[in-house]
Subunit: 132 residues, 3 copies
């Protein structure tokens, strides 16, 4: 069962909570036990799992990556978005979550985030649920 | 088949070898071929795979992350553990390993580590094995 | 279905495109829908997904990691390749990609790369396809 989530990012760098859309994809699959793979087919974006309670944590992840100062590196790629490509490889473009009794087995404080590193853009996230 | 590994971390930052517990979960599942998903439901921790021979490598991964100096960033989140949240997103909260003939297909020098970034705490790791 | 890709890296640090070899493994599996797990059993290497069009992006990912300056950290491990171990944990040793109609669901600009951080060496990558 494959689902697609469409995302319109509005800022250059942004973490967008997609937890409820991913849970909806799990519901639609009618798979009760297995795993859920969340995958973004873009090279200047990523998927991460982190705190869903205090929105400051989202800002702090962006601040932490900004602190690494990739913006000052003398990169070769001419489009000017090399820092976004590097962040994409560090964060990764997918996450895998266990599903039990039809629910994503996220921790109490975990949410799933689409990470925009080169927005604003139209983006998508693929969600595949495997029974097992 | 879903298993839970309980962990009591003893330091603020620590890599704890969970390879044998994960292999035990594979044994208990009686699944011979497939994949094993190792997932920690915490937002200031992670799962990584790295060298299991020289314990210095574990210390060096911690030293490498410390070198990135997230501790000096002026973060927004008030709990003071933002560096741990950033490290969690960089390392990631899960790993997926291939299983063949009932064994995790780890390399000769690979071990599986729970990464504590905000300890000491009581933690858990979920292990799901899928047949295939 | 498990396949092995053999790689001879030629430089100390290098990103090697393995997309077509992984797609061949998917073809050989005759699995049309499911997921594909790409795993490298080495502790000074990694697997990442990033741009396949401009080869400069590959160089920029290497430059981005070099910019983090792990080479200047006073590490404990005596082999002198601790920066490679740290990069391996940051990039990760596996990726999971969705398969539909027998094709890897990569984005238009995505390729799969084996990341050599301590070459030149003989390396391998395992590819497992799960139906579902």
């Amino acid at each position: 069962m494959l689902s697609t989530i469409s995302i319109s990012s509005r800022q250059r760098t942004e973490l967008i909570d997609i937890t409820s859309e991913v849970q909806k994809a799990v519901n639609n699959s009618q798979i009760l036990d297995g795993i859920c793979v969340i995958y973004t087919p873009h090279t200047t974006a990523g998927i991460t799992i982190n705190e869903n309670a205090d929105p400051d944590v989202r800002r702090d992840i962006i601040a932490g990556l900004l602190h690494l100062n990739f913006e000052k590196v003398d990169f070769s790629h001419m489009e000017g978005n090399s820092p976004a490509h590097v962040k994409s490889s560090l964060i990764g473009c997918s996450e895998t979550i266990i599903v039990e009794n039809g629910k994503l087995l996220l921790g109490t404080w975990q949410g799933i985030y689409f990470c925009e590193f080169d927005g604003p853009r139209q983006r998508k996230v693929l969600v595949k649920i495997l029974k097992g």
